[in-house]
């Protein structure tokens, strides 16, 4: 089978096939014989060409969180993948909230023209303030929240129309 993963804007195709108690895997031009053992729920020891490797993982929908060698890699499986949340998309007309928190200041309203980098609104979370800035110059088409509203990660805060030619 082939699976495709996406991370930091890059695609990673992986070939895999069951092989006895283990798997044969190909990534780019390298081939691996792998066995996997779950030592406790979510924690695995893989043997990759005989070398033991420890990983921990959790997946939800298309999201994959894998701990390996002291780092957590958060990426997505490409098929059946849902809209990404929690990250700025430089071209999207929808400015989503990167955090859950409370809106403490709204600086824009419908029809307003803003510069790239201009503060649109301010969210307070975990006792700190975070400013949500315009990713590009454009016109504010709408802002569904007012001061005091609670927002969740991934909610659309502001809709914008990008100024052409920029």
């Amino acid at each position: 089978m082939e699976f495709q993963y996406e991370y930091a804007g890059k695609s990673y195709p992986v070939w895999i096939k069951k092989d006895g108690d283990g798997y044969k895997v190909e990534v780019e031009d390298a081939a691996f014989a792998v066995t996997s053992k779950e030592v406790k729920p979510g924690h695995f020891i893989l043997k990759i060409n005989g070398n033991p490797v420890k990983l921990s993982m959790v997946s939800e929908g298309s999201q994959r969180h894998i701990f390996f060698d002291g780092e957590v890699f958060k990426f997505t499986r490409a098929e059946g993948r849902k809209k990404k949340t929690g990250s700025y998309d430089a071209l999207s007309p929808e400015i989503t909230s990167p955090i859950s928190g409370k809106i403490v200041k709204v600086d824009v309203e419908e029809g307003m023209m803003v510069e790239g980098g201009q503060t649109l609104l301010t969210i307070e979370a975990m006792k700190m303030e975070y400013q949500i800035k315009a990713p590009y110059a454009g016109e504010v088409e709408g802002c569904g929240f007012k001061m005091g509203d609670q927002v969740e990660t991934g909610m659309v805060l502001v809709k914008m129309k990008k100024t052409e030619g920029e």
């Binding site: 993963y5 070939w15 014989a33 792998v34 893989l46 005989g50 002291g70 499986r77």
Partner: protein, 498 residues
Amino acid sequence: MRIERVLVANRGEIAVRIIKACQEMGIQTAAIYSDVDEDSLHVQVADEAHSLGDPTPSESYLNIPKIIGIAKDCDADAVHPGYGFLSENAEFASACSKAGLKFIGPSSEVIRSMGDKIQAKKTMKSAGVPVIPGFTGEESETIEEACKRVGFPVLIKAAAGGGGKGMKIVANHDELNGAIESARREAQSSFGNDELLMEKYLEKPRHIEFQILADEHGKTIHLFERECSIQRRHQKVIEETPSVALDDELRKRMGLAAVKAAETIGYTNAGTVEFMLDKDGNFYFLEMNTRLQVEHAITEMTTGVDIVKWQLKIAAGENLSLDQSSIHRHGHAIECRIYAEDPEKGFIPSTGKLTTVDVPNGVNIRHDTGVKEGLEITPYYDPMLAKLIVHAENRQEAIRKMHWSLSNYITLGVTTNVPFLRAIIENEHFKDGDVDTHFIDTYFKDWTMSTELPVEVLIAAAIDDIGKTSVGERAEASMKGHDVHSPWKSAGPWRIDH
């Protein structure tokens, strides 16, 4: 007095820490929790727990009447405020006293006197504790004259504001006039007030603090220093003790100054005197924290003194039986604060469900936490999830132990700063002890993790996904065949070596 039941007016790891200390001492504990904290660890470990309702801080952990009411209802005779929240709130300390509850900390007068930072510096200056020289507008001299007295470089700032507006570093006399003019303009336009303050600008300053213990019978000792220079936006990230910047002579002088500061104001219970230390070994009083501190654990590990238990004993009127001469340190301790934040996205706080938590366990590794696997991290409170503290024979071994611990610290579901902490621990300047309060800005301005997925991670994901695929799908896939791309034909016999 005998303390029979303590209400712990806090949440998270520090509430858990205090509750366990009480339980060891045979003291009953009552926890409080807001709606979003119902499943938190501090609620489970306490002997009883009481709801605060609405999670908004002002309605829950900052709500003085509600907390005092619960304490009275459950027959508590003392209140431990932890750190943060109401711990340095003089009104709360005084409300406790009025309600007949022992506040575990100094008196409300002492809290108030140290809460006013300008007044605190004045008090310390007149007691002979060094403060940063500068100009406050009250001197009988001009700001220019004061600069000459203090010596360059100096820092000019607006009396009315903060946030960097009107703030100028002046390297020498030639730059002074221009800087003052510019600062006045900015101050006027930003705050409508062009008054300026000035203080000596410390180059490569370190943040060094001394832990104090003082009983209610006039005895005050210190438990040595902590080096807290690794900060981001004035928030400590990594602390250690001892500080490599202090020799025995300087340590002794600073310790005496810290005890002097505490004695001057009649300090009782545990507290911390914070100093700035410049590169020439001059130290200046910064402020006093009139409470238990986040980083108290590194002092506990190196001195063997249980600070929280002493807070309880001192509050119960016991004599401090520890003598300054009997306090010795062993080895070196380092603390890393584990925050729910994303270092790659400007340290934005992360929320969500902690699906997996597996923390390193080993010799002299201490993990103080208020969270557990399965818990929801909400945006209401401080993003600190836990403290990871290690203790070893010397600094080099402590760094190695911390490196091992961070490399084995697994949390999934909520992004943490663990990889960022590990990067600091690996930094050569950190290893050399060459740190100051600008360390993170200097070396970690645009820090990011690797942008490539390791092949091990891809293999693990694929094995997980093939396991989820139904037999039908698998059969179909194998029917399709991928002969052109298939590696299996040429790869030779597959063998698992072990």
